[in-house]
Amino acid sequence: MAKKAPELSEYQYGFHDKDVSVFRTKKGLTKEIVEEISRMKDEPEWMLEYRLKALDIFYKKPMPNWGGELKDLDFDSITYYVKPSEKQGKTWEEVPAEIKATFDKLGIPEAEQKFLAGVSAQYESEVVYHSMQEDLEKLGILFTDMDSAVREYPDIVKEYFGTVIPAADNKFAALNSAVWSGGSFIYVPKGVKCEQPLQAYFRINSENMGQFERTLIIADEDSFVHYVEGCTAPIYSTDSLHSAVVEIIVKERARCRYTTIQNWSVNVYNLVTKRAIAYADATMEWIDGNIGSKLTMKYPAVVMVGPRAKGVVISIAVAGKGMHQHAGAKMVHMAPDCSSTIVSKSMSKHGGKVTYMGLSKFGRNAQGSKSNIKCDTLILDDISTSDTIPYNEILNDNVTLEHEATVSKVSEEQLFYLMSRGLTEDEATQMIVMGFIEPFTKELPMEYAVEMNRLIKFEMEGSIG
């Protein structure tokens, strides 16, 4: 540690970092930095080896050229590890009024606002967190941050880590594998149904919103878990790259639902690999909302390896000025009678760009499997664009694949109709947009649906983001 003196830096993006003393690595990515990250986390040797191997792979892999524009992404200008100080929290009074106002507009409860604003050590939430932890412990559910999991549950982590998304999967998975920090770890034992959604924001005082989160969820046989991550509040970040990896294992007859809503500022590259393996009769559902970012490339995947496994992706992507949402889904049917559903809703406005890229693959043993894909795009003005790029790979004749894609604009007739009932043009447009994304919002837990609707309203007004 001695050779890398921690830097205390100045911040330019407002509240998020201003008063928090942090310990961060130098910019750029070297073997030494990876070693330092591992050392600071007090990791076992095998994790360090894993990181270093991944770093090699990262160096060797070319930049992907099939998706969005990545040429401005400079790996040398990125800080790969920032350790938030645990003792030096800031106070709620120090959070700028405009940020509080935004939270209020979004209707986020104060306890959550404080967490989002980086105000640590808040008594109420800790109590909630601890009582929740006790409930989970009684059920045998493990729910912690990934860093702690490596130390506390090394056997389980070692068994599953990197098995769904190996470091060599793609350049950004390799990067994450080398420098990952934070993220969630969940293990749900056989037969346990966790009725309450597990929410990331309760894990206070842990490294939650890192740039390179790593999440691992194991739903053992006959279990159920719903994990909710992120929130609709704009994520103010000085970091220009967010590259997470989420691995999920859904065992026989288990069901896992993973709900994310992310709202990135326009300077962020959001390059995420999310994949689940679903065994026989298991169900995996990704509910995925992407708002903002300079470029998002994200294709939640379900690999169905057992008979009658089910995969679901329901997603929305919203792109405004200077944004490109390159998002979609992958459904891989590798066993008989699997079924999958993709519902993709995208919207572009103010010159934003949305691209749906999806893969539906049927392996040789996928007889009787079926896939239903529906991609709808709503373009809100004349300068915004959309593309749909579906890939199908079919190695078995006895499968069903349905693909439906629509591109629409808010029509003059619809506006006239709603306005003729007294709604202003803005209200009418908003109503049409809300209706468009309703198949997504209805899947969200109530409080998130409410936040989501508010967020879209503000997005439409252009007052946020």
Partner: protein, 262 residues
């Protein structure tokens, strides 16, 4: 707004894509009156209703429309609605993902001052009551606005909106098309329940049949983008019995559609 409504249309000229459809139309509707405009297809009836409501495709090139002396043509569509104009449309749009109930509540609240919005309970009670009159299934509340509705269901839904929004001048554009006789009776009953000195009604139809259930005080015949004949309810009966030919003969019109004038 307790004042008796008064809609006045004078020498109205309306074009669509540079083609003149209405060629100087005059009409006055006051609260408590039911007017019917009849006429064969292609004579400009629907253009009139769309122009009154302010559809952007229809360009008013001359004349005036006032409501209680205020210039309607200066108002945006939503403003016209909030002033009390209502158009029950022949082909209402479908809005996916927006429930009938959500939409109606927003529309009602659009008329209210801030802080005076209708409470959810009151709204549900009102809607329940009005839906019973129109014999609409409760499920309609939660269905997406007009999506997958049959022609008849859409018409009932238009009348439901009308009864919830309490307009001052209500225009019904071919509300009878696509309705079987039972539905026609129910819809007419819904309209008749609303009649009062505070409401002026304009019914547009090309069948006399509707006028058996909604009794007009004034009947107007439209041809070639103008009202060519006006009278009382007896005019509708004569049209039912004899068709339009006698009017054409009387006025020397060969082809009644717009653009065929000599």
């Amino acid at each position: 707004m307790s004042q008796v409504p008064h809609l006045k249309i004078e020498d109205l000229k309306v074009s669509i894509e540079d083609k003149e459809i209405l060629k100087g139309l005059n009409l006055e509707i006051k609260g408590g009156e039911v007017h019917a405009i009849m006429g064969p297809n292609g004579t400009g009836k629907s253009t009139l209703s769309s122009a009154i409501m302010g559809h952007p495709k229809y360009e008013v090139t001359g004349g005036s429309i006032t409501l209680d002396g205020e210039d309607v043509l200066e108002m945006a569509v939503d403003e016209r609605a909030r002033k009390g104009l209502f158009l029950a449309m022949q082909y209402p749009s479908e809005i996916s993902g927006v429930t009938n109930a959500d939409f109606l509540r927003s529309a009602i609240n659009a008329r209210m001052e801030e802080g005076k919005e209708i409470s959810l309970m009151k709204f549900i009670r009102e809607m329940d009551k009005k839906m019973k009159v129109l014999e609409m299934d409760e499920a309609f509340m939660h269905r997406y606005l007009n999506e997958g509705f049959s022609g008849g269901e859409k018409k009932r839904n238009e009348i439901l909106q009308m009864s919830m929004l309490n307009p001052r001048i209500a225009i019904m554009d071919e509300i009878d098309s696509g309705l079987d006789i039972d539905a026609l009776k129910i819809v007419s009953q819904g309209v008749n329940n609303m009649l009062s000195p505070e409401l002026g009604v304009l019914v547009i139809t090309h069948y006399q049949r509707l006028l058996n259930y909604i009794k007009p005080d004034f009947v107007h015949v439209m041809m070639q983008g103008r009202i060519v004949k006006s009278g009382g309810p007896e005019l509708a009966e004569k049209l039912e019995a004899e068709g339009y030919d006698w009017i054409k003969k009387e006025l020397g019109i060969v082809d009644e559609t717009v653009g065929s004038e000599v």
